[in-house]
Structures are given as structure tokens and as C-alpha cells.
Symmetry: C2
Subunit: 398 residues, 2 copies
């Protein structure tokens, strides 16, 4: 869960990056509504596909001492009550879409009617035009009496920028409440990997592994989360495989790549180990050791200011030197409410690591005569290096 002070800091950071001529903003990407207020529809609820709309106003009134402005959430009553945890805004505009007595109409229209209740605000309102529904434009014109803008001119660079792009940039550098949320996911993810050592063996199915790991994650999290990722065996003739389990039985000699995310409140862990199914071959051990060494080499580069391409080069170089060829995918990526997101650790990346970026390192190597291996940890980038957030054991066997 995000904190009130974190949400207010993020809103203040947003306002600091917008030109003075913008007096209001409407945010509609559910990730960004959550980022700025902690309001998130619980995805494990009947309202899972529904949304709220966030109106931000620069002038927060006399109580606004931190530059966070004023935040107003608009939602239908059932979406409002499907919130995952306490949300932090100044006022809620709610429309009773459903009352257990009368028929219902279009639920989306209830949300827009809630926003319209705000009445005239005038001025210029920047829409998050990537997610703000076209119908919100009508609300701006007819009820808020404000000029809706789809872009703004960046005060620093003069470039034409969208609100969505600005928010994505702000999201990179996590505040402490976000790190806490990520650590909650990490602890659950660690428990899932510990469980994987117990359950992975010849004769079980990939779906049984999924269920056992998901159960372990939920138990440690203290609540159900969302579990996705790669849950597949690689083997002779199939060096690479990924995606959700399909009910396939694991066989002696397989290398099971378990690269999964556990999502709580929109944030996620994303780390990997490769498990030998039965006793691994000497060649499989060599491949595993090379990937693990590549991970260590990548760690040596992690630091605010480092080039993301240098992280890739470090990981890939180890694999090349070990005779397994260059790394065929990213060495890692940014992580948070999206996956993947910047910084992207690839050969031609123009990204640089920033303090409080959260990133993965995930070198892997895939061979039709051996099987595939990938190992991965998650890290918070610091001024001098990194703090490792995941704590699972990286090993082929128990």
C-alpha cells in the first residue's frame, strides 16, 4: 500500500514539472490514479474491469502546504467501494450507480456524471490523453467549463509532452512507500521460490508447480495476489519455453525456468531461478554457472549514472567468454507498476540508471542440446551501487 505522504509527494513532483498555465489535470490510467492517491480497484473483485477518474487542481487551498494541490476522485459507488485499501484524496465525487433496489444504466456514464458534479473550474486542464476517455472531453466542455489540452510544453526543454509520458518518467524513481510495497511482493516471491525447490521433480505438472508456488506466495503475503510469468520446462530439443503452465509433465533432465511475478496493489516482484528436474548433467551445471556469473558481472555495473547498455555488455560478455554465445534478450529492465519499463538493459539502450530505479538483472542462455537457464534478482539502484530486494536462493538443486 502507498502512504498518504508518498501520494502527496508524488502529486507535488507532478505539479513542479507542469507549466504554470496548467491549473488542473485529469488522470485516467488506473496505475497513475493509484500512484497519486493509492486508489486502486482490487483486481480480485467483481469491479476488476472498472475505473475511477482523478481530477487534480493546482490550487489546493489554504490547507495545501506541500504543493500537492487538490485531488478529487470521481467514481460510481460500487467502484468506490471496491478500493484496495485506504485512498488519499481531498474529496470523492460519487454517483449511486447501483442500490440493490433499481435497475442499472451504463456504469461508465455514472463515473462521468460523478466528475461532472465538480462543476465549473475554468482555466486549462491537461488530460492524460492516453487514457482519458473521449467522453471526459464532453464533461470538460459542458460541466467543468475548462479548456482540455492533450499536451503541454515542457518548461525546461520546450518540447511538447503528454501527461502520460511525464508520469511514466516520474514513476521510475521510487519513493519509500513504493519500495515497501515492492518488498511485500519480494517476500512473497521468495517464499514461492523456496516452495519450488520442494515441488519440482519428475512427474509433477507445470500447473501443479504454479498452484503450489501461488499458494506459498499468498500465504506469506497474507492475501491473494496475481501470479504470472514463465512456468515451463526446457529440455533437449526445446531450449526455450515460456508463459503460463499448460499441464505438461516435468521429465528427468528438464531445466524448469521459473521466472514469475507476484503482484500486490499493482506493484510486482519479478525474479527467476532455474530448477533441475532430477539430477542435472555436467553441461547443464556449466550453463547454470555461466548465467550466475553473468548476473554477478551485471551487479558490478549497477549504480546511479551507469549506462543500461553497460549492464547488458557485462552480462553478455561473461556468456560469450564461457562459450555460450551472446545474451539473446535484455539483461534486465525497470520494474514497478509496469513490466518491462525503463531503464532497459539492452545493447543499444540510451537509458542511464537513476537513484531509486528498481531493476531486474536476468541473464539467460538457451540451447537445444542442453535446455535453457535464466537467473534473476531485483535491485534498487543507489548512488553507490544497489540494494538487492529479492532474496531467493539461486541454485539448480536443493
Amino acid at each position: 500500500m502507498l502512504s498518504e505522504s508518498g501520494c502527496r509527494q508524488r502529486r507535488a513532483k507532478l505539479w513542479a514539472r507542469l507549466p504554470e498555465s496548467i491549473t488542473a489535470a485529469i488522470v485516467a490510467d488506473p496505475r497513475h490514479v493509484s500512484y497519486l492517491t493509492n486508489f486502486r480497484v482490487q483486481p480480485l473483485s467483481f469491479s476488476r474491469d472498472e475505473r475511477a477518474i482523478l481530477l487534480l487542481e493546482r490550487d489546493g487551498g489554504s490547507a495545501d502546504h506541500d504543493g500537492a494541490g487538490k485531488a478529487t476522485l470521481a467514481a460510481d459507488n460500487f467502484t468506490a467501494k471496491s478500493a484496495d485499501g485506504e485512498a488519499f484524496y481531498d474529496s470523492l465525487l460519487e454517483v449511486p450507480w447501483y442500490d440493490h433496489v433499481h435497475s442499472v444504466t451504463n456504469r461508465d456514464h455514472a463515473t462521468f456524471a460523478a466528475l461532472a458534479k465538480r462543476g465549473s473550474i475554468g482555466g486549462k486542464t491537461l488530460l492524460e490523453a492516453e487514457w482519458c476517455p473521449a467522453m471526459v472531453g464532453e464533461v470538460c466542455r459542458d460541466s467543468l467549463k475548462t479548456d482540455a489540452e492533450l499536451h503541454f510544453q515542457c518548461p525546461a526543454t520546450g518540447e511538447r509532452v503528454s501527461l502520460g509520458t511525464l508520469l511514466r518518467d516520474l514513476r521510475r524513481q521510487k519513493l519509500p512507500d513504493e519500495i515497501e510495497c515492492l518488498n511485500w511482493c519480494m517476500r512473497a516471491g521468495d517464499a514461492g521460490h523456496a516452495k519450488a525447490f520442494e515441488v519440482i521433480r519428475p512427474g509433477v505438472t507445470d500447473l501443479e508447480v504454479y498452484n503450489a508456488v501461488a499458494t506459498a506466495c499468498n500465504e506469506v503475503a497474507g492475501r491473494p495476489g496475481i501470479v504470472y510469468g514463465d512456468w515451463r520446462s526446457t529440455r533437449r530439443g526445446r531450449g526455450k519455453a515460456g508463459g503460463l503452465p499448460v499441464g505438461e509433465t516435468l521429465e528427468q533432465g528438464d531445466l524448469f525456468i521459473l521466472d514469475y511475478s507476484f503482484v500486490l496493489h499493482g506493484y510486482r516482484s519479478d525474479f527467476t531461478n532455474t530448477y533441475a528436474v532430477g539430477e542435472p548433467s555436467a553441461r547443464q551445471r556449466e550453463l547454470f554457472d555461466a548465467c550466475h556469473s553473468a548476473l554477478k558481472a551485471g551487479e558490478g555495473v549497477l549504480k546511479a549514472g551507469a549506462k543500461a547498455s553497460a549492464v547488458y555488455d557485462a552480462c553478455s560478455g561473461v556468456l560469450v567468454d564461457a562459450g555460450f554465445g551472446k545474451l539473446s534478450h535484455h539483461a534486465g529492465h525497470g520494474l514497478g507498476m509496469g513490466h518491462p519499463e525503463p531503464p532497459i538493459e539492452v545493447p543499444e539502450s540510451r537509458d542511464e540508471l537513476r537513484e531509486n530505479d528498481v531493476v531486474t538483472l536476468e541473464p539467460g542462455s538457451y540451447h537445444d542440446d542442453i535446455g535453457g537457464v535464466r537467473v534473476e534478482h531485483n535491485y534498487r539502484i543507489t548512488a553507490t551501487g544497489y540494494e538487492r530486494l529479492s532474496n531467493h536462493r539461486i541454485a539448480l538443486t536443493r
Copy 2:
């Protein structure tokens, strides 16, 4: 999964309801993109919060013999590859957002750039203005060279209607491929309830029940699904409780209301049984039997053309006659890609049941001196009555 012929039939039904002056439509609610093409981002994937945009054109060219027109999907390359199953459209406009070699830019902008690749279509394009991002309006103006409309005038009634409202209305009457998808959820849901009889007893936690039931569902579905609903014990002093499990331990004498949904490909089951934790009291048995009788009374009303309010009246009447007071919530609701959705079975409902509506019946009664009971089945409405889709055992004890 939806079928190609089902998707084409749904598109043809849509065009038949739109005035001739509308030559194109842009659909953006992910539920509706799936409804019309079977394209759905797998929610258990790293692309879980991403979207594609669907452009429909009335003139489907020479190959269009069924009135389905032409369907074009616009997506970034990673969203396109995160599809859950095969999708049915005439062409895909894809933009390579990420290639494992270069940095990435705003992923949403890649989707809009993909749509812009279609080039000029002219005419009038109806936007699904509830979900179409404002930035799609720019694409319409600058690239598609089409007039974007947020509403249309219904040819039959003359009313001003939105595309979202029309699609919600069309969604009520399910085609056979949708029923097949719902039945897949039902079979998994049945297995979860069977498992609940095994695991619910004093000393286990609600979270353990969740994990065991979810595991049973996933095994029968053959893949992981989304599990949500009510997973809580009621007891003396707490006649009503709901929502996700919180790790609370079940106690002798509790009534555990397990009202849950299993979601596959956006469709869901939603049925309930109430489980006695240990040996139930005589009063708990009476309450249970009254709710079960209320369910049977509701079944007697189900039929195309019946008033949804009459379903409520039938269920509530049984509870009143048994001395437990009137039903305090809906007797049930429509079910499919949303929850709840019309028809709404409540006292003041103006809805009528239609053939191929899929609905729940879920009478319940909650008392601080007894605990709470709710029982529920799911049904497809037919001309003469109903087909029951759920097959779990409704009983307090094994």
C-alpha cells in the same frame, strides 16, 4: 475462448443496430475488443494493464458475406503477443514498441501510432467514447481523416445513444461460444466447491480455503484463472461478512459463505454455497433450508419475458414466510464479462429477462444470532424456462 463465427455474428449484430451514416467505429473497452474479435490480453501476463484498439469498418470488401464488415486491430508488438488465444480480425496494425535491442518510449503511443498506420478512411467514425482515449481523437483527425462522433441517433427510437451502451445491451444475449466459455468457468467453479467440502473445518484459515479452492479450479480449467469473491465466515455477532480472505481462522459454529467467481478469458462463473464449520445448529439448518427454498422459488419464475422484479419477489417471499424477513439484496443479476450487469433482480427493477441472458439466483439471509447463509446457481434463460449452468452441491455439510 470465443469462436470466429461468434465474433463475426456479434460484429454483424452491431452493424445492424448502427445507422447507415456511420461507416466506421473504434472500440476501446478491452471487454468489447474481446467480444468482437476474441483478442484479449492475458491478465496473467506482464502486459496485463495494456490494451489494443479495434477499428471496425462497415464495408468489409468482397469477402464480407455476413455483414460483419472489416476488423482491424492496432497494438504494440508486446501487447499483440500477449493475446490469450487466437483472435479473429482481418488485419493487424502493429508497431514494434520493444525489440530487446533499443530503449522504449511511451507504450500507449505505440498503440496509437499503429492505428494511425491505417491512413485515411474518411466518413464518420463512431468512437466508443467511454473508453476511446482522447488521443485517438487526434489520430482520427490527423491520420484517419474521419469525423469522430461520440454518439449516434438510434434508427429505431431516435434516441442519442453511445456505442458503449449499445454494446452492453448486445452483450446480454449470449451466443453459443460465450456459453461454452461460461461453462468452462462453471466446471472449474464446481470443482472448487467440491474441494470446499473437504477443506472447510474448524482451525483452517479463510486464506487456506482460498488457496485450496483456487488450486482445484485451476486444475480442472487446465490453466490458471482469476479467483475473486466472498471468502469469509459469518458467526454469532457477525451475520454478514464478505470479500477476500484475510487469514482469519474458522471456528466451530461458523457459517462460511463461499460466493466466488472463476474468470477465464473475461467470462466468469459466480455461484455460492454456505458451509457449516463443524456441526450446524438447528436454527442454522432452518435458515439454510429457507434460502434453498427461496432459490427454488426464484427458479420457478425464470423464463424469457419474465420481470426481473418478479424473480426478486418470489425469492424474498419465501424468506418472509419462513420468518427471516425480506431479502436485503438482489435476488440475482446478469453475468458474463461484467458483474453485476443487467438484468438486475431487485424489487424496483424495470428489466425483463431475455432468451440467452445468463443470470444468477442468490437468495441470502443474515442474522447476528445465527450467522449468514447464501446459496446461488447460474442459469441460461430460455424461451420456456432455464438451463442451469452450475452443478455444485448446495448443502451445509458433506
